[in-house]
Symmetry: C2
Subunit: 191 residues, 2 copies
DNA sequence: AATACAACTGACTAGACAGTCAGCCTGACT
DNA sequence: AGTCAGGCTGACTGTCTAGTCAGTTGTATT
């Protein structure tokens, strides 16, 4: 693993767990086992490092979902929707730093003045919404989903699962305990 | 308005919009029109100032909800639930700083090592969940709500509306455009 | 008028921070 | 053997930060 990749991995962890401002370049350097000047050799500024991290997160998310759906088949749209929700929750568990990062306010603040950041966030959230919308549209065709607006419903479903993941990551409520309830409610929502 | 209250008001705005670390005591002082030493006369540390802000937010939220429900009546539980969701969204609009603050990660991180912070957050979220749960329980008694777990369903509903508010505050999607859809979906969820 | 006390402040400090820069090391090519 | 370049570093800087403290003001009580 190159030193650049090591820096990126450590930075992902720290930005996710401590936030942008709370993470110091000296700490990233120490944990990566490099001199702090090395970070500035690979990344122009701290903001640049953050954008590289976010870009990796985006690529990771897109890859995970395309991989999952490329080797799975579903008997109908409703089933596909349920599997999508389940996979989102699964991913939030196995890739917690990604979701911690996305649940911080900094990236959205940065997106206001940085177009690249905005395109990254849009790619991520479009990926999420598209997956639910796709399942709903298929469900309407095969009759397993009722007459609702697929896009808007997909947004509400994303809000729900994303909210649950956030609550879990904030140690407020446990996502696992809500799993069955959530599936039932989502199913009834789109019937 | 006393200088102490002025400091609290400015601090609420800045902690909500910039976060804990990004907000400097000098800026709070300048905007409040006091010397920075004055802040430390009223509040022992920066963390202490933050906790005072959060305490105010908690009191504000509890007050707003108790006031709203004390002068409203509903013909059944389902209607009460719908009104609760609507009022949550309304409050998130009129008291945006409160919700920006609650959507930051810092308070939850602080809660891990600070019991007072934890009790404040618990009071806030219990208030939210109780309101939805209360409506669901009433609805089950009058038959307007189906056979579901009121507590868990309340948690899912809170996740949904809280998620939508967060998306709106992050400039990702507009809560207003989703209002009708949301109400329909929540209604169907609990039938 | 003297006392007492709370509210407030200007001037300060020690530490942390992002970012810079001149130069070192190592391996590849000539 | 000499040259070159990419990767890397130690030592540094100017700026910003939370927090301190000795001392001033205003006001109420005696």
């Amino acid at each position: 693993m190159s030193k650049k990749d090591e820096i990126l991995e450590i930075a992902t962890f720290l930005f996710a767990n401590k936030g942008f401002k709370e993470t110091s370049m000296v700490e990233v350097a120490k944990r990566s086992g490099v001199a702090s000047a090395t970070i500035f050799y690979h990344f122009k500024t701290k903001e640049d490092l953050f954008l590289s991290v976010l870009n990796n997160v985006k690529n990771g998310i897109l890859e995970e979902f395309s991989h999952y759906f490329s080797e799975k088949t579903f008997s109908n749209g409703a089933e596909r929707l349920e599997a999508s929700v389940a996979f989102y929750l699964y991913l939030a568990g196995t890739r917690q730093p990604w979701f911690l990062l996305l649940h911080r306010y900094y990236p959205y603040k940065l997106a206001e003045k940085n177009d690249f950041c905005r395109t990254l966030l849009e790619a991520i959230y479009n990926c999420f919404v598209d997956i639910f919308e796709n399942a709903l549209v298929r469900g309407q065709k095969d009759g397993s989903v009722g007459d609702i607006s697929p896009r808007k419903t997909a947004l509400v479903i994303l809000s729900t699962v994303d909210g649950i993941v956030r609550f879990k990551n904030c140690n407020l409520y446990d996502a696992g305990a809500l799993y069955n309830e959530l599936m039932g409610l989502v199913g009834r929502m789109v019937k």
